[in-house]
Symmetry: C2
Subunit: 298 residues, 2 copies
């Protein structure tokens, strides 16, 4: 196969785009997809201070590098979860990467916040993955708001988005379906949340990391099992193989036709959020989830 | 495994119901699912004249037998499509079956209506499966209305419904999503449409046919290919195997949470139907699809 752009030998085949690219043209393709995502949804501009959550995995590092290259004013945010044997290596990858690309990095340690994940796992009798996710999102939002960032970016790719959309759709969870998307504008104590990689697949961000020699953290978290999520991703991959472009059509169709229907219902029936009586960040209860975890650890 | 009801050896395993049944108790289970569907959605009562579309396949014959057994006033309707080598054997199965169970049968011949499917296939440059479906539904509705039936039943099972729902959801087709369901009440020139088998899977209706010795038409239509539909059904089967009950939860959740959201949008933006200027049956154009086919054949 030849590159769809320059006719050099192609190295990445993209059936859903009916073509393939050589490494250089692939990087151009990747850049255009990110650019289009940012512009189409008016995520942020070059005047904005942008915070990028960096787990150390391929997606977040690829996103950070691409935003640096496009000239955005980005700062990385890494949450050190304090999980033995896992958080150390992940943090080291993030620090090494930021040094290499000359990016500013902010690290928040859960140990220092009194919320190391191993302790949460021992003391709180709820699924650790959902608790850990809640804690991470809380600090993403807190740092973004406290330190005056106008946008908070995460490295969710098309496969993440489609897997989550499929899961939410199987349950017809109107509350989640009403606001899933590449941009959740700032509102009621929440920073604006952006997913500039939503047009790119997991394979595409992996290829980008490969071509740019990004040394990312690969091991799965020792606490996660993630079986059902994997099955749903696999189903979407089968569908995509059978009919290239299905994933993207499903997601784009949702944004255009599905989400507005759910948003209308949610507007009528949805819950309202109030500031947490402890920390002041938004919650649907009196005390937010993270402050309740703190209580349980005391 | 033992029967969940009577402890005799089970012959049908139903993982999504966490159990299994012997042949006798399975028939009781099947009957209760049909009864529940009819009552829950107020499809029809024993005072109603009910028309059941009989293709000759397992689902429609199983439905007809069960409705006869439950004492409903049912008449079978078979559309003889006029496809050589296929329509003859299908019609013979339907006629033999109705004779055996003592059911009234009404046959409409597409040849006699000037619409034999082989001719439609030759003269109309559109996918034959969708044209054939359109023609069949037209005559189901016409017979039901012209001859005073209060309900029109089809043998769609849970797998059919879930496959169609999945397809409509992948496309986020608001118009189809706003009214898919086990009951579409009579309105604007359409007879009430009922799907009393929507709680039963394809395997369950096949088992019912087997236990009742129903001799049904098995061969696929020589004109159909049906590849993509098969892939989507297979995906749903993988999901079901991974987590029994997923299909039903997806469908029931849609009826409860999904459909109302789409129905609200459709009510605001949907198309209105008017009587066809030729035949008087409802259409969104001036001339309905079947009358347009007639024109093309002239």
């Amino acid at each position: 196969m030849k590159c769809s752009r320059c006719k050099a030998p192609a190295q990445v085949a993209l059936p859903s785009h009916h073509g393939g690219f050589c490494p250089d043209c692939f990087q151009g393709f990747f850049a255009r997809q990110v650019e289009r995502a940012i512009h189409k949804h008016r995520m942020f501009t070059k005047d904005d201070k942008v915070l990028v959550a960096l787990s150390g995995g391929k997606d977040s590092l690829a996103l950070f590098l691409e935003l640096v290259r496009q000239g955005y004013d980005v700062t990385g945010l890494h949450i050190d979860l304090g999980i033995p044997g896992s958080s150390g290596p992940a943090r080291a990858k993030v620090e090494g990467f930021c040094e290499r690309v000359g990016g500013t990095l902010r690290v928040v340690e859960m140990e220092g916040e009194g919320l190391p994940i191993p302790l949460v796992r021992d003391k709180v009798r709820r699924p650790i993955c959902s608790m850990c996710g809640k804690i991470k999102r809380y600090f993403f939002n807190k740092v973004a708001l406290d330190e005056g960032y106008s946008a908070l970016c995460t490295g969710h790719n098309l496969d993440d988005e489609v897997g989550r959309l499929f899961a939410n759709t199987l349950r017809w969870d109107v509350s989640y379906l009403s606001d899933q998307g590449p941009l959740l504008p700032a509102a009621g104590g929440f920073a604006s949340k952006c997913r500039p990689l939503y047009r790119l697949t997991e394979f595409e961000t992996a290829a980008y990391c490969f071509f740019n020699g990004i040394d990312h953290h690969v091991s799965a978290c020792p606490y996660s099992k993630g079986a059902s999520f994997t099955v749903r991703k696999e189903l979407m991959n089968l569908l995509e193989r059978n009919s290239p472009g299905s994933k993207r059509a499903f997601y784009e169709g949702f944004l255009k036709q599905g989400r507005p229907a759910f948003a209308a219902v949610e507007k009528e029936e949805g819950r309202t959020l109030e500031p947490c009586q402890r920390c002041g960040y938004p919650t649907s209860a009196e005390i937010c989830g993270v402050c309740r975890v703190r209580e349980m650890l005391e």
